[in-house]
């Protein structure tokens, strides 16, 4: 009984209560700031497509680009 806590009532309820915690994802803004967003929002917007080097270069707002 003790080892198999998920099958007890207490285990079931505690699992249910802890499920409400929001998971966060750290992301980077084009000007180099770290931000956190809700994982659900990220997953809804993500297209699971890896960014190419060219796209990454165009995305970033790097001051050194202005001189080129």
């Amino acid at each position: 009984m003790g080892n198999n806590q998920n099958k007890t009532r207490r285990g079931f309820f505690s699992q249910f209560l802890s499920a409400d915690k929001e998971e966060k994802v750290k992301m980077l803004t084009p000007d180099g700031k770290l931000v956190e967003i809700d994982k659900k929002i990220f997953e809804a917007a993500a297209k699971k497509k890896l960014t190419s080097n060219k796209e990454l270069y165009d995305w970033m707002q790097n001051p050194s680009k202005e001189n080129k």
């Binding site: 994802v25 803004t29 000007d31 967003i37 990220f42």
Partner: protein, 322 residues
């Protein structure tokens, strides 16, 4: 055994508490959802963010959570400077008695060793017959800065708020800027900087140049990190005689901590000048001529360490002989 029974809640109590908590959480959750959906509706602005997996995702700006510890000034912000500001400094030479409080405050704020002076106090003498006077000098943050023009790697730059800063992550230590600066206000980090461990472990900040790096050039930065918070630089605050006025030319106000004055009125009334104006560098530091001096120049020797006193010996002795 009895004590255990009292402390251990029964199943019935536990289920009851869990049920109450569930209802409360569900109610709060629905409230939070409605709030966040309202927030999202308010800003239609999309921000393109890079995920740790290397994917660029468009997210509504309402969902971004800028953490306090993450709110470090980005390189772009550091390069651009503060919009709508034009920082300026006025130095009242009639009030300076070489107390050197400005220097020690600067060194403490920037974690610099005593031998590195971003701000120095010189003993100036305009002619043989004129009396010498104390002259604080730091980077003038020129509007036409020769140092910026000669930097081969774009490490030193001029911002829209008037500050000239150095990105010590880009600096290659060529010292071209030191040679180009006609005021010799830049210093070179020859040795490995001895800074506290918590500073050495900081993420590099492009505005404060902390942590310092060996083999790079440094200078006075007008403390932009303090200016962002609306605070005066430590040299201004530490001066016991109110020598330094710091402020914003666009707001037309300068303050030395005790009094706040109109910048244009002050430089007009007191016939302010800029050091070596003829060079065309357009410095952002103005000097009020040393009239009506509050202290005799000899007071600048009070409690001065021997090694620093040696810097000025020639000038004062020469004056005494004549």
């Amino acid at each position: 055994m009895k004590a255990e029974e009292i402390n251990d809640p029964g199943r019935r109590d536990f289920i009851k508490n869990a049920a109450i908590a569930t209802i409360a959480t569900a109610a709060c959750g629905s409230l939070a959802c409605s709030c966040s959906s309202q927030q999202a509706a308010k800003t239609g602005e999309k921000v393109r963010l890079l995920s740790p997996e290397g994917e660029i995702v468009e997210i509504d700006s309402a969902y971004l959570n800028y953490q306090e510890h993450m709110a470090i000034v980005s390189k772009l912000e550091a390069r651009q400077g503060m919009a709508g500001k034009k920082f300026v400094m006025v130095v009242d030479l009639g009030r300076c008695k070489n107390a050197r409080k400005c220097i020690s405050a600067c060194q403490k704020w920037h974690y610099r060793p005593p031998e590195t002076e971003w701000l120095t106090v010189k003993l100036m003498k305009d002619s043989d017959k004129a009396a010498p006077y104390w002259f604080p000098k730091q980077c003038f943050h020129c509007d036409n800065p020769p140092c910026v023009k000669v930097c081969p790697v774009d490490a030193t730059y001029k911002r829209q708020d008037g500050l000239v800063l150095i990105d010590n992550e880009r600096c290659i230590g060529c010292k071209f800027c030191m040679a180009a600066c006609p005021y010799s206000t830049r210093v070179f980090n020859w040795d490995e900087p001895q800074q506290p461990l918590d500073i050495m472990n900081l993420k590099s900040n492009p505005e404060t140049n902390l942590p310092a790096k060996v083999g790079t050039v440094e200078k006075c930065d007008f403390c932009p990190d303090r200016a962002r918070e609306g605070l005066l630089p430590p040299c201004v605050e530490a001066c016991p005689n109110g020598v330094f006025y710091f402020g914003d030319e666009k707001e037309d106000t300068v303050s030395n901590g005790d009094e706040t004055l109109s910048f244009t009125q002050l430089i007009k009334d007191r016939a302010a000048y800029r050091f070596q104006e003829e060079l065309g560098t357009k410095p952002r530091v103005y000097y009020l001529p040393p009239r009506d001096r509050q202290f005799p120049v000899e007071r600048g020797y009070d409690n001065l360490p021997e090694n620093i006193k040696a810097r000025f010996e020639g000038i004062l002795d020469e004056g005494k002989k004549k």
